[in-house]
């Protein structure tokens, strides 16, 4: 027996020892609402209990006051319905096929991009190798810088520095990018005038000679030609001697210029087809060039086109020795350091 007061409440009240073996007296609340009656009331069963009336009053149908928000709710339902229409999701097969298609497209696009990138890189590398950092073709770079003066085209006059400018229309560009220095404005203006000269039929050869001479004067070493007379009014002299006699083409005196290294042939070796191939001894550049001066330039202008002259220049610059074509000055060129030919 416990000595303390006996508790009749709580969960100990349900135990027999808490009440000393006596039965627990039901509380007033339990007597008001037994458990089974409560379950019946909660389930809506009618009964004589006063709480039933209370629950029935609480469960009455809704009044108009309680349903006054019906219009708003209906409008909300109507507004929300178009947005809430369920959309059928793609099946697993559709998703798989779509995924496969996307993967194929992705692969093709990737392959194309990689191919284009590789092609661009390859072509770009070739272009860079061909043009070099200066932008000029590699062949021209070699002809201008690596073996300067190795190929002296006919008609080109060798400057006193021993660097023989190449002949042809591309010479100026080459001299601009090569080691010959920048082309002066006067030479460009002269070239433009020459190129713009319509030229009569009888003076065609002479015009080519003039152009070839201008190509030779494109070098910065020939800036002294600024004072030269206009080539558009050449004297009516024979074609072989007309343009070069108008002024000193180089800084070196014509008569004292020694044979340049690599120039090789004297003027006498000019091609026979050039007519009076022997230039006068006072002609500028003839000894140095060693290729017949104007005579040989005229011959080249007759026999070959302008592009051929450039190709010839390229070929000569790209090789260490060169043999002139038949009918022309057959002077082997051995490069810059070659000893002068006898």
């Amino acid at each position: 027996m416990p000595d303390g007061p006996v508790s009749f409440t709580g969960r100990h009240a349900l135990r027999p020892h808490a009440t000393g073996g006596r039965l627990r007296r039901p509380s007033p609340a339990t007597s008001l609402m037994p458990g089974d009656v409560a379950d019946l009331l909660l389930d809506g069963e009618p009964g004589p209990h006063p709480v039933t009336a209370l629950l029935t009053a609480a469960c009455r149908p809704g009044t108009a006051h309680e349903l006054r928000g019906e219009a708003a709710a209906r409008q909300a339902f109507v507004d929300a319905m178009p947005l809430a229409v369920p959309v059928a999701l793609p099946t697993a097969r559709e998703r798989h096929s779509r995924h496969r298609r996307m993967r194929a497209v992705r692969t093709v696009v990737t392959a194309k991009v990689v191919g284009i990138a590789a092609l661009t890189l390859t072509a770009g590398g070739v272009a860079v190798a061909a043009t070099g950092p200066s932008g000029a073709p590699a062949e021209e770079r070699i002809s201008d810088g690596a073996v300067p003066g190795a190929d002296v085209t006919p008609g080109a006059e060798l400057p006193a520095t021993g660097r023989a400018p190449a002949a042809g229309p591309g010479t100026q560009a080459r001299s601009r990018t090569g080691g010959c220095g920048p082309v002066t404005g006067a030479a460009i203006a002269d070239l433009a005038r020459v190129c713009g000269d319509p030229g009569d039929d009888g003076q065609g050869d002479r015009s080519d000679d003039r152009r070839a001479g201008l190509m030779a004067f494109g070098s910065p070493d020939t800036d002294a030609r600024r004072g030269a007379p206009d080539l558009r009014d050449p004297p009516p002299a024979p074609p072989a001697t007309a343009p070069p006699t108008t002024g000193p083409p180089t800084t070196a005196p014509p008569t004292t210029a020694p044979p340049q290294a690599g120039s090789g042939a004297p003027a006498a070796d000019a091609p026979a087809s050039a007519g009076p191939a022997t230039p006068p001894p006072t002609r500028a550049g003839a000894p140095g060039a060693g290729t017949g001066g104007q005579g040989s330039g005229r011959d080249q202008g007759r026999d070959e086109s302008r592009g051929q002259g450039r190709d010839q220049a390229r070929d000569g610059s790209g090789t260490t020795s060169r043999t002139t074509p038949p009918g022309k000055t057959g002077t082997p060129v051995t490069g810059r350091g070659a000893p002068p030919s006898p």
Partner: protein, 217 residues
């Protein structure tokens, strides 16, 4: 209360494990619609039928309003309005019968009521002026509605005097018409705890009524 609301999280459909005899109270509350008719109306509303939605509204709105009144008082109409907005938005995705729909709607209503209770605790109340209320006459038979409403209002007011868990258990079981497992899902409790709370609530109501009658006598 708030912890229970937070534990519920999203408004989910309540499993419908209602006892067969529990629909008696629902039939008493909605005599115009039988259970089968409400099931048909629910299916039609889920398919987009407006009349089905109205039938559901007329059946459930008074119950939700009374339940929300016990939770938030005067803000019950706002709570039920937000509840029906969400029901209208999410009804096409609902699947279940009328009992599940009632449980789902009750969960939404309770969550909205908890939101209102939280917001009310953060901002001061602004009582409506009496002149504004006088300019809004109630439609219909004012006298009859007043008598019926007073009785229903008194009953709801008496239930609202119970502790929160007991009042919710009694309202959800007796007024809304949910069974014990559904109420447990809504409240986030076990069914046994819901049963105990409901029994205690009914006993307290009986005591209150007994005291009231004794008081009147």
């Amino acid at each position: 209360m708030h912890a229970v609301a937070a534990g519920l999280g999203a408004d989910v459909a309540v499993p419908h494990a209602r006892a067969p005899h529990a629909s008696t109270a629902v039939a008493a509350a909605a005599p115009t619609r039988s259970r089968g008719e409400l099931d048909v109306a629910l299916a039609a509303a889920c398919a987009g039928d407006e009349d089905g939605f109205v039938a559901l509204y007329r059946d459930l709105q008074p119950r939700l309003l009374r339940y929300a009144t016990a939770l938030v008082g005067n803000d019950a109409e706002d709570v039920t309005a937000e509840t029906w907005l969400q029901i209208a938005r999410d009804l096409p995705r609902f699947s279940g019968d009328v009992d599940g729909f009632r449980g789902w709607a009750s969960s939404i209503c309770r969550n909205r009521a908890m939101d209102v209770a939280r917001s009310r605790s953060r901002r001061p109340a602004t009582p409506t002026d009496i002149d504004v209320l006088a300019e809004q006459p109630a439609p219909g038979d004012a006298a009859g509605s007043a008598l019926e409403a007073m009785s229903t209002r008194e009953a709801i007011a008496l239930i609202s005097e119970l502790p929160q868990d007991q009042a919710e258990a009694v309202l959800l079981r007796a007024v809304v018409g949910l069974d014990a497992p559904s109420v447990a899902t809504v409240l986030g409790k076990r069914p046994g705890a819901v049963r105990v709370a409901a029994h205690r609530g009914l006993r307290r109501l009986a005591r209150m009524l007994d005291d009231g009658e004794v008081g009147r006598a």
